[in-house]
Amino acid sequence: MIDRTALAAALVDYLPRQRWFAGGEAEARDLSVTSVRVLREWAWPALVQVVVETRAASGGDAMAPPEPASYQVILGLRPVDSRDAFLEGKPEAIISELDIDLGRALAYDAAIDPELSVAVLQHMAPGEEVERARYLGADQSNTSVVFDERLIMKLFRRLSDGPNPDAEVTRALVEVGFPNVAEPVAEWREDNHDFALVNRFLVGGTDGFVLALLSLRDLYDRRCPPGEAGGDFAFDARRLGTVTAELHLALAKALGTAAGESAAWATDMEAQLARVRLEGIDAEQVGAVYRRLARVDDPGPAVRVHGDYHLGQVMRTDAGWFVLDFEGEPDRPLEERRRPTSPLRDVAGMVRSLHYASQVALAEWGPEVDDELVALADAWEHRNRVAFLAGYLGAENVGQVLPGDDADRRLIQAAFELDKAVYEVGYEQSHRPDWVHIPLTAVQRILETTP
């Protein structure tokens, strides 16, 4: 029906243009088509799932995956003279023209096609009756479509050998009754791959980062102590802390705990430290904190964690905070993302995110920024960090996933915060040099406040 060679040739040009494709043109050049599945009756418009494999990176590009990677492409095919409205203004979603036995076809990413998106949903969940599909756009590793403002389908783009961590963790959390996660409705799993997941859509939800910016804009305009500002974020931060603790307890219950390995954590941190150049900071001092971490006897249990925890991964809804996207950092190997670690790693991630929020809002404020606003940004961060930690540490039974000694807890948390900030320095150096001062300030501050 479709000539695989022609298809592969078309994808060579298409893949490097996709946000979810981790490689560059070199990696795409050598792709091979692993499977082709026709998902509905072979007629216009046609719907085909294609899995491709790219070869290993040739070295040099740090962002490319170190090993062969598989990707899922959902192909929509309509007659080449189609002028459907959904095709307009989305050049990145157009693959190419192809000759198939139905005629000459325009091939494109079917996620943008409302009719075919519904067909994908019906392939996964034949019982679900929906009327409308709304394309949400592509993320680093997946593409989302909302149906009737009721269901959300996540098409996984980069496929992992083994369970997709998002699907795996969501399933596990629901099984133990953790309520603050979008309930899965259907999943598409074949040949040891998770291809897609359908969850209940959190109607009326707002991303935590957006809410934090809202609070900060109010503060910067009023110029009063953050506790007196109308848009105070502290009780949202406190509730978020509590939900985070409940998340870790649920993960421990659902996927088990292991003994924490402070020496191994420290080794990973040292390795990252060695890769990053910290301007104006004595890396030796950072290393000293890691070495103290390595000597902690009781670092508490290791549990499965969120892994990429920040304000953008939580959503405020009418039923409180919900946690989203358990894929972990997509650039890390799957095996590492699934490995249990200290829950304080997530805590550190959220605390760093509070710092970033205060600074992003400051940058937005532009030329009006003065010393007073800079001080307010710090005060906001401090207030919400304290509230978040109070919510986390005050949660019932949270001691079960923490070290017995609070001084150890503080040291471990500081080490994870340092590790995260060091990672951010590296990231900003290669992507947004103007922002490097944010994590550098953080590294400096953590060193000063860690006894």
């Binding site: 709304r134 809410l211 009418d318 039923a319």
Partner: protein, 575 residues
């Protein structure tokens, strides 16, 4: 419209009016679409110039009430009373308090209101009487008199320890010893308000007689005060008992069979999930107040996000057919904070009650305008939400002209000062000597009657008063605001509260769809609405009838001014 048209000349001389209720609609479910207006009788208008507002004074102002667009007046208790609790301590259910007038005044007032298409409901206290009520005087004499068990008596004060003391500031116990009878009597409120004993069927029947009496005179219903506490049972907290619901069903049955179209409005300050029990299966009260919504509307504006509102609406259960919520911004009581969490209460105190005198019991005693720093834009936004969220709006007298309060007056009097009619002596409220007034009118530079008054508002076409009147006109054209379905729209911007009300007319089959978009922020905001469901419809803005671009496949984009809002009717585009 001129000031004299509104009955502001000293003697409007309303005479020779036809009696009867020809002006009322015949719809028995009128309350589902009605706009209520709460009046504190002694504060509205003084008809006999003794310094206290009365029914004659209110009657003189009915033209104003009608002009504003009010469908139903709600009066606080006007019965004979020693006035130790604002008239909620009734000593004779069949007589008016002499300050307010006599029965003839009441009849004339109700007729005049009905002639203008305005209904009237009044407070009724069923739970207790004043200790000056003859029933209690008789009951306390001994243990054998004919009314000996019309009240709740006991030999000790230990029974029903589970029942909380409501007025913790002034009452040590729910029991008070009566030396004359040598027993304790039960009271859920003040000690001078003994609870009636509904286990005695004679009491229930006597109260039904009170209900019949006033409905015969022409009242259109009652606000039932403190309704959850009618019965007591061992091992319970004495609130919301099945027996209480059973009695309410009996009252409703009487109203339905003898007085169709009259309404029972329950005051039960409880969580929505518990309050809905007072609707029964549509066979108890017609209406209940939605208490928790009100503080959250203020909180949403202060926090500039929709969650305080959408959260409580998400927790509000559906109500039976033929019922309605009563929603309000402010009333004669404090801004009650019983129905918020502890941390939210701390927040509300910090935000709205900076001076400790502003606090009272578990609430904040302020009028609308001072609560929102006299910000006209916020006043408009709050009213726009009040008029469009599910429920019938209940306005508080004076808020339509942006009246202030006087926190230095004791108790709840700070929000019950005289209605400000004009810049004349005593705010045009009374021709009595200033010193004779029941409370002084406001005279401060911001809210004083010299600048804030009905006459000034009437002369100024851009006043808050005209704006409120215009909004009520628009609301009246769309029954969907009263009885339509309610659905919150999804939008990524948390400062936006957007929802759709929808209703199909059962007679004409016509669909009325109204979309409301509110900006809770003091900054301009963009909003993208996902309206796939309404593709092909054209939004018409309801105040100016301007057609906006049609709704297409893409998210619908709207920009909102600070505290701005839109009401759109969605009209199906004819091909």
């Amino acid at each position: 419209m001129t000031a004299s048209d509104l009955g502001m000349s000293p003697d409007p001389g309303i005479t020779g009016v036809p009696s009867g209720s020809a002006g009322l609609t015949t719809d028995n479910r009128w309350f589902q679409n009605a706009v209520f207006y709460e009046v504190v009788l002694q504060g509205y208008n003084d008809g006999n110039h003794d310094g206290i507002g009365d029914l004659r004074g209110l009657t003189e102002k009915l033209d104003y009430v009608q002009w504003l667009g009010v469908d139903c007046l709600w009066l606080l208790p006007f019965y004979k009373s020693p006035m130790r609790d604002g008239g909620y301590d009734i000593s004779d259910f069949f007589t008016l308090h002499s300050d307010y007038g006599d029965l003839g005044d009441a009849v004339a007032f109700i007729e005049e209101a009905h002639r203008r298409g305005i209904r009237v409901i009044a407070d009724l206290v069923m739970n207790h009487t004043s200790d000056a009520h003859p029933w209690f005087t008789e009951s306390r004499q001994d243990r054998t008199n004919p009314r000996a068990d019309w009240y709740v008596w006991n030999d000790d004060d230990q029974r029903w320890p589970e029942a909380r003391v409501i007025f913790v500031d002034s009452e040590p116990s729910n029991w008070t010893f009566d030396a004359q009878r040598g027993q304790y009597y039960w009271h859920r409120f003040f000690h001078h308000q003994p609870d009636l004993n509904y286990d005695n069927p004679e009491v229930g029947e006597a109260m039904l007689n009170v209900v019949r009496y006033w409905l015969d005179i022409g009242l259109d219903g009652f606000r039932l005060d403190a309704v959850p506490y009618l019965y007591e049972r061992d091992g319970t907290n004495g609130e919301n008992l099945p027996e209480t619901h059973e009695y309410l069903r009996a009252v409703r049955k009487e109203v339905d069979s003898m007085y169709p179209g009259r309404v029972l409005l329950a005051e039960a300050n409880q969580w929505p999930a518990d309050v809905v029990d007072y609707f029964g299966a549509g066979d108890e009260c017609h209406m209940c107040f939605h208490f928790p919504l009100m503080p959250r509307m203020f909180m949403a504006i202060r926090r500039e996000q929709r969650y305080p509102i959408t959260e409580i609406l998400a927790q509000t259960p559906a109500i039976p057919e033929g019922c309605q919520w009563g929603i309000f911004l402010r009333n004669h009581d404090e801004l009650t904070l019983e129905m918020v969490t502890d941390e939210e209460r701390d927040y509300m105190y910090a935000e709205y009650a900076k001076d400790p005198r502003m606090k009272r019991n578990v609430g904040i005693r302020r009028r609308l305008a001072p609560l929102i720093d006299n910000d006209r834009r916020v006043a408009e936004l709050l009213h726009a939400m009040l008029f469009s969220l599910p429920g019938s709006p209940i306005m508080y007298y004076g808020d339509e002209i942006g009246m202030g309060d006087n926190i230095y007056l004791g108790d709840r009097d700070g929000v019950r000062t005289p209605m400000q009619w004009s810049p004349d002596r005593n705010a045009g409220f009374s021709r009595a000597d200033f010193a004779q007034l029941y409370l002084p009118p406001l005279m401060d530079p911001v809210y004083g009657y010299q600048s804030v008054n009905v006459e000034a508002n009437v002369r100024d076409q851009s006043s808050l008063l005209y704006w409120v009147k215009r909004m009520l006109e628009v609301r009246k054209q769309h029954p969907v605001f009263g009885v339509g379905s309610f659905e919150v729209l999804s939008s990524e911007n948390p400062t936006a509260l957007a929802f759709v009300r929808e209703r199909t007319d059962t007679d004409t089959g016509e669909r009325d769809i109204v979309m409301c978009v509110n900006n809770l922020s003091r900054f301009a905001q963009p909003v993208e609405l996902h309206l796939g469901h309404y593709e092909g419809y054209v939004p018409h803005e309801l105040l100016g009838r301007v057609a906006f671009p049609p709704i297409g496949e893409l998210p619908y984009f709207v920009t909102l001014a600070p505290y701005g809002f839109y009401w759109f009717q969605l009209v199906k585009e004819e091909a």
